[in-house]
Symmetry: C2
Subunit: 335 residues, 2 copies
């Protein structure tokens, strides 16, 4: 942060940030907007089939941008993507950031807390090397809205960016408080005491309590995946690894129609898009469950984010049965 | 907001924002930091003796900056400055903004709500012409922390700046809700329901209830001013117009010492600076009142922000008597 910001006359090239082209959360674009970097400063790195960033493509892009005189400064890795819970290869991305002197930010809003599960630890390898990690305790820690959180390796870097002083803020009287003055470490001046609800809930559940709840959510997603695979009406889109699961209503007849012409394929796909949206609307309208759609590879699909600590396998069965029922009502065989 | 932000290659000159050089709140510098404009983009306009922005100086600066090829875009007027409650000449500033095509922002965090008092309305002339007004309901509306608020004339301008869409946010199902989707009008995505506490409190007090409380705060500041003027120990620094009042412990002997050499004057001033700080520390340490210091014209002074709806004239008397007592203890005549 210089006194001239991006308006410095000596600045050369563009500051660039990198994230996967699949499912990157729009909060990154919003941050680029706020920082006046422009949305084009968010460079989208090709993804692999498992919805994670392709590290080789990342490094190729960084090299090309550096060669053009631009200034790559940050890579945003996804730790639980919004549609499929995909976790980027954190260790490899950490290596790339290290080699190129870039800030390694892990967007763990959806999934970082899963790192507390020993059986999932392998997926999170490298998370401990991030310079900063986003958490959303109002997601998988079950805290009431709102409660965003940023963990940083070196708080002093935040202080250097945010510290401002003013005579009316100075307290000359020494107090017993030796902690941080948070207004010097972030954009907010007056702050509500959001940390209280987090602290209380952490104390209430404890690590073992949370592990139990997280496993319950994962088990629900796995169960949903089992139901999808066993069904002739739905198509599986990804392996479940956390609590977020996307899938598609696509009766077998349509799925198997590989012999269709491109034009017919497009027609069937467009119809299934409308149908999936219709099913999501209908299950909401009937008051059964709050299920939304999202896009995967350009197609409208159903998405379930099982992040209530009260959701059980029986709930999953009830919702899945309702989805099946609604799909068949809306898509009679004679249609 | 362009796709390239401040990194656009076609950008010429610097974007500049203007505010009074006296007492401008650091939130404006923070905003300049966040937007990567750089703190130097905040141009400080000379103030008049009453701590308000000098409109002629403002227009002169704007013309000079335009002539140099820079891009003035915003003027921040103070509506209740942090140390003295000063209110800039809003109508004149509105004219200047209109003539030059600039955004007229009124920083009313401390004082804008005073506009509800008919007897104070004259001071607020022109406030209704602002493009945006900052309110801090946690200040003079007595709402618990935190509760910042921005009023804008044309919400569509916010939507154009902040709107982002994502497939996982789209709700295709029509609902009865016809209001704004706030995540499209500001930086936050998930938002707590802060408006509830404001709405409830507004309903509870009503306009007449608030007028009574605001007048009580103003009356307290006026009473404090009367005590200061009647005292031989304190120096008056400004007329009280709202609930914020700054004054200085400066026994008459020192105040009257106009025949002092510059060097002696500086020595006395430095001593009074330490003394005022010491008095503020002491009244806090004794648990009597929370009074802080600030700087006015470079000197350390006492500042009282009487924005609790429970403060009475008797409290003011008790605090003022304690300040006098502490001052005399710390500054015995033989010293």
């Amino acid at each position: 942060m210089t006194v001239d910001g991006l308006q410095s006359e000596t600045r050369t090239g563009k500051y660039l940030v990198y994230m996967a082209d699949h499912e990157g959360h729009i909060s990154i674009e919003r941050a680029a907007d706020l920082l006046n970097l422009g949305r084009r400063a968010v460079r989208r790195v090709p993804s692999r089939k498992d919805f994670t960033m392709d590290p080789e493509a990342l490094e190729t892009m960084i090299r090309a941008d550096l060669a053009r005189g631009d200034q790559p400064f940050c890579v945003v890795a996804q730790v639980g993507s919004i549609n499929t819970g995909a976790i980027d290869r954190l260790d490899v991305i950490a290596d790339i950031c290290e080699r190129n002197g870039l800030w390694f930010h892990a967007d763990g809003a959806c999934g970082a807390v899963g790192a507390m599960l020993p059986e999932k630890m392998e997926m999170y390898k490298g998370l401990d090397r991030a310079n900063s990690v986003t958490l959303d305790p109002h997601k998988w820690l079950f805290i009431p809205y709102e409660c965003g959180c940023l963990l940083v390796r070196e708080p002093e870097q935040l202080r250097r960016a945010f510290s401002l002083s003013a005579p009316y803020l100075r307290g000359a009287l020494p107090t017993e408080y030796t902690g941080l003055d948070y207004f010097e470490y972030g954009p907010e001046m007056s702050r509500g005491f959001r940390a209280l609800k987090v602290w209380m809930t952490l104390r209430h559940y404890g690590v073992e309590g949370y592990r139990k709840l997280l496993r319950q959510g994962i088990r629900c997603a796995e169960h949903l995946d089992e139901r999808v695979r066993a069904s002739v009406d739905f198509e599986r889109l990804h392996k479940p690894n956390l609590y977020i699961y996307s899938f598609r209503y696509a009766p077998t007849a349509d799925q198997k129609a590989t012999q269709l012409s491109d034009q017919d394929r497009a027609r069937v796909d467009a119809r299934l898009d409308r149908l999936n949206q219709h099913i999501a609307d209908e299950i909401q309208a009937r008051g059964i469950a709050f299920i939304m759609t999202t896009k995967i590879h350009g197609r409208t699909v159903l998405r379930m984010s099982i992040c209530s600590h009260r959701t059980t396998l029986a709930d999953i069965d009830a919702v899945f049965d309702a989805l099946t029922q609604i799909g068949r009502e809306l898509y009679p065989e004679e249609d």
